[in-house]
Symmetry: C2
Subunit: 111 residues, 2 copies
């Protein structure tokens, strides 16, 4: 089925997970996963957090930024794909000059 993000309410989340600025997202959710379109304006970030009950795969639609993991810093740009495996920790930072817009899938891990 198509996920029609244009019909999903936009959430504006200030200081998301302790980050700077605000995280703007549209989120589909069911028993298997969450599917999201996310936006961070320049200077905004998602704070460092650990994926305890799911994992995350990000595809960068447009913009530039940095993903900090436990053991590395990744420069991301249009077309970058970042994978935060179950139990891993990361943050997403828009340290660029344009909006950072990304598509993300959060599959739930088996209980």
């Amino acid at each position: 089925m198509l996920i029609h993000f244009e019909d999903i309410e936009t959430e504006v989340l200030p200081g998301f997970r302790g980050g700077e600025g605000q995280y703007i997202r549209k989120c589909f959710s069911d028993e298997n996963c969450k599917i999201m379109e996310g936006k961070l304006e320049p200077g905004s970030s998602i704070g460092m957090h650990t994926h305890t009950e799911d994992y995350e795969v990000i595809y960068v639609i447009t913009g530039n930024g940095t993903i900090v993991n436990e053991d590395s810093r990744e420069v991301i740009k249009t077309g970058s794909v970042s994978y935060c495996a179950p139990g891993k920790t990361h943050t997403v930072i828009n340290d660029g000059n344009d909006d950072l817009i990304f598509f993300a899938v959060f599959p739930k891990t088996a209980k």
Copy 2:
């Protein structure tokens, strides 16, 4: 971690799952999921198949096409998101005039 598709071998799969033409992909895989960049040239398709041990979330990077599900036909274009839930059946068809390029995540379902 970043998935560097440019370092992953390109697979060219004729008649993939009974489809027309060939399916061209780069695929990362681990114990949790597959993460893929796929390309269908005009006239190519992935044949109808059922997701028995995983599910699939597609983000269309560029191009136009059609996804046929058990009970619907979906027109897809740049930015479209299609979700094939566990146990569901679908096909992906490039019936457009340009390459259809998409990003897809295939989370494994719990055994």
